[in-house]
């Protein structure tokens, strides 16, 4: 019988492992291990109707690209796109085969381990945190009677997954009651979809009513199938479908709660809800004065504010990258990652990814693509072989009919957009959170100056070490193409020198991730006490519909408990402890008057 050894700490950080060993030996992290044990003990089964639907759907076979063009794969272009498409199709086929095999075995479990910040990560590649087509295949193995209240949560879940359908507005923008009402309104169609999936009908018959593959298509059909069974059988129906509840920008939630800031806290639902049940008020703050339906959350507000800022700064070219003034989708990922310490470069990559995805869809529909690199060509003059011009140092020179031309790349548009968004968040969007980020970076800088490693413990006792050392490298000489010498540099360990830039850039991310992880540990422990089936994807909490209301309350309660003590003070004191006495510490950050218990009154905290 084959056995595999996998580290409890993903990434094999020797110093983190040593610190954890010590903490485990002293019995400090018992609760973290209990949380991990509970999460990995949940059994699952494959959602057979959805698997069958995916197999019947069978997209058109993609022709394998020519092998002679393999060398072009490394360069971006049509050959790389063809190979990407082909390989992703092959990978998907393999996943479906694997799912078929798992289905034959019945129950299965997902083993998990921790990353160095304490976040719980699934070990196998086949897990719930993957994309929609895999996520739609998961069901809890043990069901619970859905009940009347559970059915309402399931209806809200169906609506939330129906964002990509082209026969309705986007229901995920609605409140929970409105989502339930939306499902009731469209019940005949949703039941028809669910029945077709359960009966294994040809997917083409309901193709028109489904979201596209870029949206949550398979989770939507899984929800419809569950809904139709719940309606047919009644409140005794044992539901197994995992319902996802996502925190409203968890990074900002933690930072705002640490600063006890009421304004930023209100945008992410950690304050008392406003009258009328709306979660945020876009109209009474300095950020934005745009009217629109999409302005019901922080991302929507930031999208509108970005649109306005681009207008003010006359950056009209950048507005071509956005799909209207409320392009929440393009803004969401960068804004979310900003609070995890993302730089404009990282945010630009995320924007690029979305634009490329959109361009692929546009190509299929034969629409003009959004250009990311506008190239301007202009003439220059040359004296004694030296080109002169305003941008003489940043253009490439070429000649046409003996006339010199310079090609000047006017910045990378997604980067410029990311930069504008970064400044917007720093100056107007969330200045307090930005201040906290900078404070953490200062603490990391101070540690680097004194050649110390920043380290702190989470409230559950798990040591988190912000350790980044320069790698110990070795040069390998290999034979490359046509027997040419090719040097490869391989990291074989780490030196004692701290990698300052990485340590400073990563500190905010590690701190917020550690807070996220601590919240998850607390929620998992609470769920274990209540025997509530639970799953998580970092800041998303997942359970079945009968437990949905309880999960919502539990998460808020745990969040309030987590932030009872001041995390920022903890890290400040941890740094004070490791630095010599004469070191000048930055002043502690001032905190506001927000009560951490207020979050218990806001059901929109997770949605």
């Amino acid at each position: 019988m084959p056995g595999y050894s996998i580290s409890l700490c993903s990434g094999h950080h020797p110093k983190t492992e040593a610190a954890w060993r010590h903490a485990i030996a002293n019995g400090k992290v018992g609760r973290v291990l209990d949380a991990l044990n509970y999460l990995q003990s949940a059994p699952f089964v494959i959602n057979e109707p959805v698997l069958l639907f995916q197999r019947n759907e069978g997209s058109e076979p993609i022709q394998k690209p020519a092998r002679k063009d393999m060398w072009k794969v490394r360069e971006p272009g049509p050959v790389q796109d063809q190979w990407k498409e082909y390989l992703s199709e092959m990978a998907r086929e393999m996943e479906l085969e694997l799912a078929m095999y798992i289905r034959e075995h019945g129950r299965f479990w997902i083993p998990m381990h921790l990353d160095f910040r304490g976040r719980i990560i699934a070990i196998p590649h086949f897990h719930f945190g993957r994309e929609d087509c895999i996520r739609g295949l998961f069901l809890f193995a043990d069901g619970e009677p859905i009940g009347v209240e559970g059915l309402k949560w399931l209806k809200a879940h169906v609506a939330a997954r129906a964002d990509g359908v082209n026969w309705s507005i986007k229901p995920s923008r609605l409140s929970r009651e409105q989502r339930t009402a939306w499902t009731d309104e469209n019940l005949p169609l949703l039941c028809k979809i669910g029945r077709a999936v359960l009966a294994g009908d040809d997917p083409k018959t309901i193709q028109w009513a489904l979201p596209s593959e870029d949206d949550e298509r398979y989770q939507f059909i899984a929800a419809c199938a569950e809904l139709v069974q719940a309606i047919d059988i009644g409140p005794e129906f044992k539901t197994k479908l995992p319902l996802i509840f996502d925190c409203t920008n968890s990074g900002l939630q933690h930072l705002a709660e640490m600063r006890r800031d009421r304004i930023e806290g209100r945008w992410v639902n950690i304050t008392k809800p406003l009258d009328g049940g709306t979660t945020t008020s876009p109209y009474d703050d300095a950020v934005i004065e745009v009217e629109g339906d999409g302005l019901n959350d922080f991302y929507g507000i930031m999208a509108a504010a970005l649109w306005r800022r681009l207008f003010e700064r006359e950056l009209f070219g950048l507005r071509d990258l956005l799909e209207g003034p409320l392009d929440r989708k393009i803004v969401k990922q960068p804004v979310m990652s900003y609070f995890y310490g993302a730089t404009p470069i990282g945010m630009s990559d995320q924007i690029c990814e979305i634009i490329e995805k959109r361009n692929r869809t546009k190509k299929k529909k034969k629409l003009p693509r959004a250009e990311m690199t506008p190239i301007r060509t202009f003439s220059v003059h040359e004296v004694d072989g030296i080109p002169y011009g305003k941008f003489a140092n940043i253009f490439s020179l070429h000649r046409v009919n003996d006339i010199p031309y310079g090609t000047f790349i006017d910045g990378f548009l997604p980067y410029m957009l990311a930069d504008a968004l970064y400044k917007l968040l720093e100056q107007e969007g969330a200045p307090k959170a930005a201040e906290t980020r900078n404070h953490l970076i200062k603490l990391a800088e101070l540690c680097n100056e004194h050649k110390k490693i920043l380290r702190f413990d989470t409230p559950l006792g798990l040591p988190v070490i912000n350790r980044y050392f320069k790698p110990k490298e070795e040069r390998l000489i290999c034979s490359g193409v046509n027997r040419r010498r090719r040097d490869i540099i391989v990291a074989i360990g780490e030196t004692d020198k701290i990698e300052k830039d990485r340590a400073e850039n990563a500190v905010a991310a590690n701190f917020v991730h550690a807070a996220d992880a601590a919240l998850l540990h607390l929620v998992a422990l609470a769920a274990a006490k209540k025997s509530m089936p639970m799953l998580s994807i970092h800041d998303c909490f997942i359970s079945t519909s009968p437990f949905a209301a309880d999960l919502n309350v539990t998460v808020r309660d745990c969040f309030s408990r987590l932030h009872r003590h001041n995390w920022l003070n903890t890290i400040w004191q941890a740094v004070r402890k490791i630095l010599p006495k004469g070191a000048t510490m930055p002043p502690r950050l001032k905190v506001g008057d927000l009560d951490p218990n207020e979050v218990k009154l806001n059901p929109f905290f997770i949605n």
């Binding site: 019988m1 595999y4 095999y101 019945g106 083993p111």
Partner: protein
Amino acid sequence: MAIGQTVAASDRLGADRETGNKTYRDTAEVIGNNLVPHCRDRKLRIEVGDWAIERLRTLPIFSLQSDLTPMAAGLSRWQQTNGFDANPDTLALTAELGDVLGDFMVEQIINKPLLSPMFEPPISLDASQQGWRAWLFHFTMFRPSPQD
């Protein structure tokens, strides 16, 4: 055997540089290069490759193209003419290899904990039961083979 599989599966290795078509001579040369990398005599390298191909053909997973396609069967082989003319009769993989590799892949995917989930509950990490030194940072996952 590894180089035999690589050459047989590749469109580039074992192909004539000018025409781009696979030939017996170039296939034998690639295999010979791997077996006697320091040999400077090209003819000798090809002869070594020829001998290796004959040995590989005794295995069920290898065959010559002429054995698989009747069109090439009438063409003379290099070892018959003992010349260096390009011959389209090249080393090929039989369908059996595909089956062997397919089964191997499936077994690997199913048994790899990094790819597929487990079919029994994971071991609970409890320091008090097992002693923290015993399992610390390395908990072992056992999984049955597909035959079980």
